[in-house]
């Protein structure tokens, strides 16, 4: 009984600490009372070190005492519906908790130096805490509803960090592109969660799948329903996992600060998609069609990622395509039912890719050092693909790979442009209809309102702390 209490405390601590840090830092920022760099760094370091200890202990206790299900009651309840706050710490989530807290701690430590005196230092750490909260919520959620909450937080943080450098147009535009991809795919996840409620009468993992001890859980929805729900979850995972056809945002996302690139697109955010698929694996087990789709998507992305990655001239872009490719292989592994292999692959890949991305800013110096160490001879690696294809085909492949196989242009033409066109027509029709309704012409109704501008300043800028008049 006492041990259960300790385990519950540890689990709540893992999630609660970054959430508390986020609310503290975010609240202070909202009221424009952000602490200095040193305080921010210390607070974040304390949070993530404690978190790591709690996570490791929780995982150890999972291995010694079995999984922990923690129900904190309902967030809200109406007649016929109850939104449960339920957490699940089992082998899968315990492993992810340790991975998440380890990488978070390392990245926070790296960022405290990397982001020093960078405009938006506090903003970065607020977003880091928000991301930690969201990611841990995904990992520890005992229901798909709660998982979706974390999923949205991670997506939002990702978008805000891609557009971190707000004074330039390119990061902002790329952040918007990532957001559109996320929102479209997230709709699939949300609908999948709703249908899970509908068919399994619960989105709680323990109730939707008869056995909560991962990976042995069994769904009981029937093949048709399971296929529909699984396909929707697949759509949901395409965005975060940067899988075809929703992969275009990942290389563009490298506009954000390097620590956030490592955290999101090397270590954790992209793997959230893999985690989701592993978590709902019992539904896929019931849906062979969805598993085939999963394998096809994964393998296509793996091939696409490796071919496109080969023609990149930027180290972060190359790493982005390599990540995409590896995540694709993990999708295929899950589709083939190799769940344990997928977990090992995910953890190993997250660690390696984080290291590579954190070292990316010094890649040129390292390449020079390596070149010098080899005595000025460039070792030839990675030529296995060249050996497989004839030269003409190879050139053709690389020419198309340079433009990402025109995928972005295709998505733009087939999806984005028609929606924008439709929105324009809707607006034009609305303006015409309104003008007709009130008996005026559209030129009159569209005449802008005369604007008045306040002349006197609203607030006097406060001098920076430490300055003297």
């Amino acid at each position: 009984m006492q041990l259960d209490g300790i385990r519950e405390f540890l689990a709540l601590g893992v999630l609660g600490l970054p959430a508390a840090t986020f609310f503290l830092l975010g609240g202070l920022a909202l009221f424009h009372r952000s602490p200095d760099e040193k305080t921010t760094t210390r607070l974040t370091a304390l949070t993530f070190i404690t978190n790591f200890v709690f996570a490791v202990t929780s995982l150890f206790l999972v291995f010694t005492n079995g999984p922990l299900e923690l129900n904190l009651g309902s967030l809200f309840q109406v007649t016929g519906y109850n939104f449960e706050i339920e957490f699940l710490v089992d082998r899968l989530s315990g492993t992810m908790m340790v991975l998440t807290t380890t990488v978070l701690g390392l990245v926070a430590f790296f960022a405290s130096t990397y982001m020093h005196r960078e405009p938006g230092f506090e903003r970065f750490f607020i977003l880091l805490s928000m991301f930690a909260t969201g990611m841990l919520l995904i990992v520890m959620a005992g229901s798909i509803d709660l998982l979706f909450g974390g999923w949205e937080l991670v997506g939002l943080t990702s978008v805000l960090l891609i557009g971190f450098y707000q004074d330039r147009d390119a990061p902002v535009k790329r952040a918007f592109a990532a957001l559109v991809t996320y929102r479209v795919c997230d709709a699939g996840l949300l609908l999948g969660a709703m249908l899970l409620h509908h068919y399994a009468h619960s989105a709680t993992l323990g109730l939707a799948f008869t056995n909560t001890t991962w990976p042995i859980g069994v769904g009981h929805m029937g093949q048709g329903a399971a296929t529909l729900v699984a396909l929707l979850f697949l759509v949901g995972s395409l965005g975060k996992g940067a899988q075809l056809p929703a992969s275009g945002w990942l290389p563009r996302a490298m506009e954000g600060p390097t620590p956030s690139s490592a955290l999101f697109y090397g270590a954790l955010s992209v793997h959230a998609a893999v985690y989701l698929l592993l978590r709902v694996a019992p539904i896929f087990a019931e849906a062979p069609v969805a598993r085939i789709a999963l394998v096809i998507v994964g393998l296509s992305t793996a091939v696409y990622g490796t071919l496109t990655g080969r023609v990149q001239s930027d180290v972060k872009n190359t790493l982005a395509y390599a990540t995409m490719s590896q995540v694709g292989i993990m999708f295929a592994e899950i589709g083939l039912g190799l769940h344990t292999l997928a977990v090992v692959h995910m953890v190993g890949h997250a660690c390696v890719r984080t290291l590579q991305l954190l070292r990316a800013p010094s890649a040129l110096r390292e390449a020079n050092a390596m070149y010098a160490a080899f005595g000025g001879i460039q070792p030839k690696t990675g030529a296995h693909l060249e050996a497989m294809f004839p030269e003409g085909l190879r050139r053709s492949i690389y020419r198309h790979a340079l433009d990402g196989f025109h995928l972005d242009a295709l998505v733009q033409r087939v999806i984005a442009n028609p929606v924008v066109w439709l929105a324009g027509r809707v607006d034009a029709f609305g303006r015409w209809f309104h003008a007709t309704m009130i008996g005026l012409d559209t030129a009159t109704t569209q005449k802008p309102v005369e604007e008045k501008v306040e002349q006197e300043p609203q607030s006097i800028p406060r001098p920076a702390l430490g300055t003297r008049s």
């Binding site: 909450g149 939002l156 607006d427 009130i438 501008v453």
Partner: protein
């Protein structure tokens, strides 16, 4: 019995009405602002206390908030009162009024505007308290009069005509429905044919029910800015006074009419009429989302978002199940909080830059970081971020709609998706990125009173979003009350019966 016999309900209407009429005669705008803020703060406290008192009365039947009664057909009948539907709307409306008076740019807040805001608040509160069809109709019609007069005073013929034409149609619908329901009551010898307490017991016969429902749907379409009259809210937000637009959006008369009249009084034709409302709500929600995506003007964008969210609220109310209804009610509150914040931040930006055209703005976060942060924070509460009240509303809405209209649930997600994308497009175009034509001098960022007022809206949305049990329970009670009235039609009236005198 602990009874609140003091006529608070009447005073909440009379005092601001008198103040509102007297405001233009004040000696200075500054004095008018001070008096009005003090009055609005007092109103908010009283409204909150009344709401708390009402919900306490549900657990402790000896506690009771007295309705305002008049002798009608030889018997005392309530014309104003509080029930589960209206109780949370009183603090909500008064809170938004207070925030508007605190945060609206001074340039937009002269004595005339303050007077209009206070009178509009009276009509919003009156509509929420109305227990009689005639009273409800009067407040309904009166609600847009200050905005119409304001448009005429400013010489904005487009807005004045928009309000008169669109709202005229709504008024025709409601007056028609009131007349038909009254005739039905007279035909069946109901003692007080226009008192809702009597009408809810009396079953409206089919020959009267159909025309009444048609009239009500017309009123709902016109006032709810539903397809094909969905162009009202964008024009109101684009050309109207920010504070008045916010208050008119908060009042949501169409949603109120569905919950107060269509559902409980016309259960026989209700399903057909509600299916129609749900269908139009869905088209409107998607239309509003697309419209928001195409906008280059911040104010028109907020109007488009309001149109979409108005449609979503009505879909929830039309589901006739507890989840959908509660979701609709929660979404009503959530979108009121967040869109009021958005329209006010936009007004602040306009007061400093002289424009709301995003092609001219761009990158103003560099000189107005606080305005940018507030726009982002309020916007996130509008598009269903987890941890905000709109997330709770959306979750309940989708669950409720999935039970009643499964395909509508999927289409509804398209609307929320478009809203989110449109918001981020506007935010990235107007606030971040490279600075464009408009250069805002430093030192023109939000003043403390503006920041605190908008932060109050964000905190309210997040506070209710993280701890939603209280408000969800309150709205669930309203949903249950509405549903029980509908299902037990002829046996029981809405809320508590009036005490015998």
């Amino acid at each position: 019995m602990t009874r609140l016999e003091f006529p608070f309900l009447l005073l909440m209407l009379v005092v601001p009405f008198i103040f509102g009429l007297q405001m233009p005669r004040m000696t200075s705008d500054r004095l008018a602002r001070r008096y009005s803020i003090a009055l609005a703060a007092g109103m908010f406290l009283v409204a909150s206390a009344l709401a708390v008192f009402y919900f306490a009365s549900l657990k402790h039947p000896q506690v009771w908030v007295d309705p305002i009664l008049i002798t009608y057909a030889g018997k005392l009948r309530p014309i104003l009162g509080i029930d589960a539907l209206s109780a949370p709307l009183l603090p909500l409306s008064t809170f938004i009024t207070l925030v508007v008076l605190l945060a609206c740019p001074r340039i937009d807040l002269d004595r005339h505007h303050i007077g209009s805001i206070l009178v509009t608040e009276v009509t919003v509160l009156g509509l929420a308290m109305a227990q009689d069809l005639v009273v409800l109709t009067l407040f309904w019609i009166g609600m847009c009069v200050p905005a119409w007069l304001d448009a005429r005073r400013r010489g904005d013929i487009v807005l004045a005509r928009t309000i008169s034409r669109y709202q005229g149609l709504g008024a025709i619908g409601l007056v028609g429905a009131t007349v038909v329901l009254g005739l039905s009551g007279m035909h069946d010898h109901v003692a007080a044919p226009l008192a809702m307490s009597d009408l809810v017991i009396h079953e409206v016969t089919s020959e009267y029910a159909a025309p009444a429902a048609i009239c009500l749907v017309l009123a709902v379409v016109a006032r709810g800015s539903l397809f094909p009259l969905q162009t009202f809210l964008p024009v109101l937000f684009e050309r109207g006074h920010s504070g008045l637009a916010a208050l008119l959006f908060v009042s949501r008369p169409a949603s109120y009419l569905v919950a107060r009249v269509l559902l409980p009084l016309l259960p026989d034709v209700g399903p057909t009429a509600l299916s129609l409302v749900a269908g139009l709500g869905l088209v409107t929600a998607i239309w509003g989302g697309l419209l928001a995506l195409a906008q280059r003007d911040l104010r028109r964008f907020v109007g488009a978002l309001a149109t979409s969210q108005s449609g979503l609220t009505l879909i929830g109310l039309a589901t006739t199940n507890a989840e959908g209804l509660a979701g609709g009610f929660i979404y009503w509150v959530a979108s009121s909080l967040s869109l009021s914040g958005l329209v006010l931040v936009v007004a602040m930006v306009r007061a400093r830059t002289g424009t709301t055209d995003i092609r001219k703005l761009g990158g103003i976060a560099h000189t107005m970081p606080r305005a940018s942060l507030m726009f982002l924070a309020v916007g996130l509460t509008a598009i269903g971020l987890p941890g905000t009240l709109s997330f709770v509303g959306e979750d309940l809405l989708v669950h409720g709609v999935l039970d009643s209209y499964p395909w509508v649930a999927a289409a509804q997600l398209v609307a929320t998706l478009l809203n989110g994308i449109a918001f981020f497009r506007i935010y990235t175009e107007a606030f971040v990125g490279k600075a464009r034509a408009i250069k805002v001098p430093t030192g023109r960022d939000l003043a403390p009173r503006e920041r605190w007022a908008i932060a109050g809206l964000v905190v309210a949305s997040m506070g209710f979003g993280l701890m939603p049990r209280g408000i969800v329970h309150a709205r669930d009670l309203a949903a249950e009350e509405t549903l029980s009235t509908e299902s037990q039609h002829g046996h029981q009236g809405p809320g508590k019966p009036a005490p015998s005198h």
